[in-house]
């Protein structure tokens, strides 16, 4: 039995001190005063040298937010959040005006985050690093890195510009492409959409902006790494992606945060717009700090993500691997407006220890022959609570619409929970909606079979869980699939004893 005890101890050590991304970077920071009021909103807007219309837009959102109430319908529990007890703006003091000025500490952070070396070099502004084709025929990845409130550097910008692609911090896009930002910002997620979206609209600090021109297939993966570093800060990033007619893009975001005893708020808004024949693939690997084994600390991840498939035959595919955060509350959705448009949602959500996740998607079928596919894999371990909440709504005009939903839950141990809450509103006679759901446990004979072939208990669990999630993981860009698999396994360490 010695080996089991040792393994458990080793895993506990990992769990207790072990969130691998839990380091903190020592960088001089520039803070706005704590708390939230109109002056803070003005401060943020001024810091970003924003045009008057955007300040007005923010203030309108703020005033609306004041009239709203914290939503209570999700199956998550947390103490009330004191919105006055947080910083709404934190930026590295050394302004990242050019790539060479990037603080070396920051680059160390990226190294620890596992951002590929090549991209680090680019982020560090190594001359010409972004121009040469990458080694081994690997697909290059353009990276935008958001550190607390500020986008620090964007790589491959010039290379992308050759195709007319804009990939930059949203604060920069406000300066360089104000007409695009003004046209699309809030057009998918209006300021008053929900409590956290309103908050975000008032105080959003940075995030990525992508515009793919007509007919352009983006030649590389676009990627953003979000990181909350400073204490008592919230992160409110705003991402806006516009795929013009006939264009195509694949975008990936990754997230981490240091370990802290307090809960930190992350309330992002992501808006996607796909015009005729455009296609957007949006992948998320979310690994915010989940809190310790007793449930202390961790990120509250309250995110609004929505895509508008405005054009005919447009397509948006959401893929998410959610392993982190103390609480996850997010429903990446698709408004299928254009005829024959397609929405997809592939999700893996893991809750271990005391994590809670209430996640799913909403598919609004508005155009004719619109199609949607939902594949959700929920894994609960420890005391984790995992809820799939989904809505498929088919309007009377959406003749011939189709939806297929599959929700599978995997339970590890007997203290955790899995819940499936599918809402279906079909108001069209010719539409077809299918829903399948399963709940299972890792079987003892599967574990024994793996172990009898030399796999450790942890490797066996990792392998079985990865198998369970395969349909979702295969949707991830190749470069990140391996990383995501490792993440799943790490997240579940210590869950089987």
């Amino acid at each position: 039995m010695a080996a089991v005890t040792e393994t458990i101890e080793a895993v506990q050590a990992v769990n207790d001190g072990g969130y691998k991304w839990g380091f903190e970077t020592d960088i001089e920071m520039d803070f706005a005063p704590k708390g939230l009021n109109e002056d803070i909103v003005r401060f943020i807007s001024a810091k970003k040298k924003e045009p008057a219309w955007l300040l007005e837009w923010r203030l309108k959102a703020y005033r609306h937010w004041l009239t709203m109430e914290v939503p209570h319908w999700a199956a998550v529990k947390h103490p009330p959040i004191d919105f006055q007890d947080a910083y709404y703006y934190a930026a590295p003091k050394q302004g990242p005006k050019s790539l060479d000025e990037v603080d070396p500490e920051l680059l160390k952070t990226y190294a620890k985050l596992g951002i590929p070396l090549k991209e680090q070099a680019i982020l560090a502004g190594v001359e010409g690093a972004g121009d040469s084709p990458s080694e081994g025929g690997r697909m290059p990845i353009a990276v935008d890195a958001v550190f607390d409130s500020v986008s620090v550097a964007t790589s491959y910008k010039e290379r992308l510009a050759k195709d007319g692609i804009v990939f930059c911090a949203i604060s920069e896009a406000v300066q360089t492409h104000p007409e695009l930002v003004q046209q699309y910002l809030g057009s998918v997620v209006p300021q008053g959409d929900n409590y956290y979206a309103a908050l975000n609209s008032a105080v959003f600090t940075d995030g990525s902006f992508v515009y793919i021109p007509k007919g352009v297939k983006c030649p590389m993966e676009l990627s953003t790494y979000f990181r909350i570093n400073a204490k008592s800060t919230g992160q409110f990033e705003r991402t806006l992606i516009i795929a013009d007619e006939g264009s195509k893009v694949s975008y990936l975001e990754g997230c981490t945060a240091p370990m802290r005893d307090e809960n930190q708020l992350h309330a992002a808004v992501v808006e996607l717009v796909a015009l005729d024949d455009a296609s957007i693939k949006y992948s998320t690997v979310q690994n915010w700090y989940p809190g310790d084994a007793e449930g202390k600390g961790g990120i509250y991840n309250f995110v609004t993500k929505r895509a508008a498939c405005r054009g005919k035959r447009s397509k948006v595919s959401w893929t998410q691997v959610e392993t982190g955060s103390a609480i996850t509350w997010k429903y990446p959705s698709c408004l299928l407006i254009g005829d024959d448009s397609v929405g997809e949602f592939y999700s893996v959500a893991i809750t271990n220890n005391h994590q809670q996740a209430d996640t799913g998607t909403k598919m609004f079928h508005i155009g004719q022959r619109t199609r949607s596919t939902i594949v959700s894999k929920g894994i609960s371990a420890g005391f984790g609570q995992n809820t799939y909440r989904g809505l498929v709504k088919i309007s009377p005009k959406a003749a011939g619409a189709r939806n297929f939903t599959q929700c599978d839950s995997l339970l590890i141990g007997d203290q955790c929970g899995a819940h499936t809450v599918p809402y279906i509103e079909n108001r069209c006679m010719t539409a077809k909606v299918e829903h399948e759901a399963t709940t299972s446990r890792i079987a003892e004979d599967q574990l024994f079979y793996c172990r009898s072939r030399g796999l450790t208990q942890e490797d066996a669990v990792g392998m079985i869980v990865n198998g369970f999630c395969r349909e979702v993981l295969k949707e991830l860009p190749m470069e990140f699939a391996v990383e995501a698999q490792k993440l799943l396994q790490i997240s579940l360490e210590g869950s089987v004893g």
Partner: protein, 249 residues
């Protein structure tokens, strides 16, 4: 050498093995036959270390190592391989990935370098050809949707790649067609050597005409009640277990 002495084991509090003694010298292949429910699979699980199979008395050593003190995965990398009577399905887990992970676990334990995906495919394909398995079985999830015979062949593929010191084959011949039976026998025979021993559990003498065992043992009510040479299997085929069981009682 595998040495089992006075082995007693319970499952869910029920006594299944009752003082079993068995020695298989290195390089030898022994067969175990016995009526349904006599404890053959239980013996194989106890040897492989399955949870819930509790040893209440006795010892098992392989060479100079005490198997009973080890976890299943430690036994596996030390060279114990169990070909399951009913191989388990692992949905979504690619066969190639599973096999390579297992092989690398064993190689690491032996101090050998891990092999990469390309080397692995070469090795696996060569073995699969011999076992008459189509290449696409590497891509499919482990045992999912495999026919009974395909599952058994997949077990043989694993065994051949992991090349264990001690192979336990639990009714690998059940449900196999005549050609597949020969392939299984060929695989076992190809591993024969001074460092390989095997315990072949079977109900049918036919397998033993292809894998000629050094010894045949009869298990009844959790104990070995009779041992002999290959001719014992023929006797059993002709007369059944009745006489032996009566004599042992």
């Amino acid at each position: 050498m595998l040495k089992i002495e006075n082995l007693h084991a319970t499952v869910d509090g029920k006594q299944i093995l009752n003082g079993l003694n068995l020695t298989i010298p290195a390089g030898e292949i022994h067969a175990i036959m016995g009526p349904n429910g006599s404890g053959k699979s239980t013996l194989s699980y106890v040897l492989a270390g399955r949870d819930g199979y509790e040893v209440t008395e006795g010892s098992v050593t392989l060479g100079d190592i005490d198997l009973l003190a080890m976890e299943p995965e430690e036994r596996a990398v030390a060279g114990v391989f169990l070909a399951f009577q009913a191989p388990v399905e692992l949905p979504g887990v690619g066969n190639a990935n599973f096999l390579r992970t297992a092989l690398n676990a064993v190689r690491r334990a032996k101090g050998e370098a891990e092999i990469d995906a390309i080397q692995f495919l070469k090795l696996a394909r060569a073995r699969m050809k011999v076992l008459n398995m189509p290449d696409d079985m590497l891509k499919r999830p482990v045992n999912v949707g495999f026919s009974g015979g395909e599952k058994k062949r997949n077990e043989m593929l694993q065994m051949a790649l992991l090349s264990p010191k001690l192979a336990l084959l639990d009714e690998t011949d059940s449900g196999l067609d005549i050609d597949a039976l020969k392939l299984v026998a060929d695989t076992v025979n190809s591993l024969r050597g001074p460092a390989f021993s095997a315990l072949v559990i079977t109900h049918y003498q036919r397998l033993l005409t292809h894998i000629v065992p050094d010894r045949v043992h009869v298990l009844s009510a959790g104990r070995i009640v009779k041992s002999g040479g290959p001719e014992l299997a023929e006797e059993l085929e002709a007369s059944g277990y009745g006489a032996i069981q009566a004599a042992a009682a």
